[in-house]
Amino acid sequence: MKTFDARLIANYPVNERYWQMTLDVSARDTPARPGQFFHIRCGDAWKNPLRRPLSVYNYDDELRQLEFLYLIKGSGTEQMTRMKKGDSLNLIGPLGHGFTLPDQGPLLLAARGVGVATLHALARQARAEKRGVHVIISARTPGDLLTVEALNQIGAVVHTVTDQEGTSSTASVRILSEQLIRKEKMAAIYTCGSRRLSKLVQELAVIYHLKGELATEAHMACGIGDCYACACTVCNDNQLKTVRVCTDGPVFPIRQVVLS
């Protein structure tokens, strides 16, 4: 983990609400793992004093390039879209605990919204290790579906479900997931981006005895474990415990996560 400046190589919209950014991180030494994040200074310190946490969307070890996929949500991410090639961005990272893979077997990933940014990195790593990867991507409309091509290209099998087509209800996704778990003999299941999906994945992990992990979100100040802004409650050995998303997470075993 360190603080460093990275030069922007590219920054462009992938659809109406999402942008993708590529940074040259050759100045950095530790590679970033899927599920880890960087804490980014994305505007001037007056209007946006706080940094913004963004997951690794892709880390290219050879080119030493780091990619983010981000949703324009408020003023901070809006500021990010104004940055141009050659600008430099201040980052702290890589931060937090990433995903862990089971010893063997294929993986089922279920993402909604910007959750695909986080799971995309995991899919890449798993494919690099020649694992079977199925990704269920859920979105409001077919136009909102993200990274489908990129995932196809690396050899992940993508299943898209949308509200518009009526295929994204918990019931439908449960049927689809159970089919995949049984047919593909899934070893682990991962999710990010939706409370409804998280609940489903938690149930499936228990029922099918799968390794399961969830990437969580929380408002952060320090991003490194000092301030307790990002507290969330987990349940470990039947004991409720308050932990920090930034350092104890953001990835947690799905069984520990308390979903209200």
Binding site: W46, R51, A218, H219, C222, I224, D226, C227, C232
Partner: protein, 301 residues
């Protein structure tokens, strides 16, 4: 160039230290902790506390609101794990303590009095996030006086009272703390604040209100330092809105002997060492030999 300052019987090699709640040893890879004037860990409570509902922070223009609410594992764990973690750093450690009753403050002070690793105690009598609706001991002169007197009886370590800015006359509270036996005053904790997201119409802090910190509060803190400096002879530690060395110098001129840095560390983890460098540059440029020569030395416009 003399950067050293005295806070009661404690001498610091320079006047820059972290503000409680914004610092931890997790910063070590990003900040040279040994360059700090002092180390101030997060406020500690007697027993374990879970802290407040989320979201616990939100960003506002020029600052942030927090309602962490002192998440703490209790004093035993603090003595067993937190204090030892700082043992190998050079700067003296100032322990910030926070109680729900005067007696709890005294108990905490009693326990820490025995700890060689604690150079001074900062009494957080001003946390807006602990009691109902932002109430704090530091809002009452008599409670402040009683609290200081009680703690003074159980320890000889330097006592720093951290005042709340949310009062009509901070001079009265400063005076009460001085009479109660305080050796120094931190001016001040955060300002009670609130923000509502107009799109969702929801409060932006789970606990409705929280404490405002960051650059936006600086002109209020400079005024409070000036008022306290006029009212007491105690050294003042300025805290609130310092983002750079110039802000720190402004607080020295208003009457502060040292400064604490909080929100700026979230913006840039090494903000404190940058600020030390900027203070040095300022003193050099103005040919001032000692940082103490700045204290209270402003002139009228």
């Amino acid at each position: 160039m003399d950067l050293s300052v005295k806070i009661g019987s404690l001498t610091l090699k320079n006047p820059v230290m972290p503000a409680s709640g914004t610092f931890g040893y997790e910063l070590a890879p990003l900040l040279d902790i040994n360059r700090l004037g002092a180390i101030v860990p997060k406020s500690i409570t007697l027993s374990a506390r879970g802290g407040n509902q989320t979201p616990r922070i939100c960003e506002v223009d020029g600052g942030m609101i927090n309602s962490i609410g002192i998440q703490s594992k209790g004093i035993d764990q603090y003595i067993a794990y937190i204090l030892p973690a700082y043992r190998h750093y050079e700067p003296p450690l100032i322990a910030s303590i926070s109680g729900e009753t005067i007696d709890e403050f005294a108990q905490l002070a009693t326990l820490l009095d025995r700890q060689a690793g604690v150079a001074a105690l900062e009494l957080n009598i001003s946390c807006p996030n602990l009691r109902d609706n932002g109430q704090a001991f530091g809002m009452s002169a008599s409670a402040t006086n009683q609290l200081l007197s009680s703690v003074r009886q159980v320890t000889d370590k330097p006592l720093i009272a951290k005042l709340t800015p949310n009062v009509t006359r901070i001079q009265d509270i400063a005076d009460a703390a001085e009479c109660g036996g305080a050796d120094a005053l931190t001016v001040a904790n955060t300002f009670l604040a609130m923000a509502i997201d107009t799109e969702s119409r929801k409060t932006r802090i789970g606990n409705i209100m929280g404490g405002l910190s960051g650059a936006a509060v600086k002109p209020l803190i400079v005024r409070l330092i000036y008022q306290v400096h006029q009212a007491t002879n105690l050294p003042i530690i300025g805290s609130g809105g310092i983002m750079n060395g110039q802000d720190a110098v402004e607080m020295f001129l208003a009457g502060a002997t040292a400064v604490q840095i909080g929100t700026a560390t979230f913006v840039q983890p090494n903000a404190m060492t940058t600020i030390i460098d900027e203070i040095i540059t300022y003193l050099e440029r103005h040919r001032i030999g000692a940082v103490t020569d700045l204290i209270g030395r402003f002139e009228l416009a």
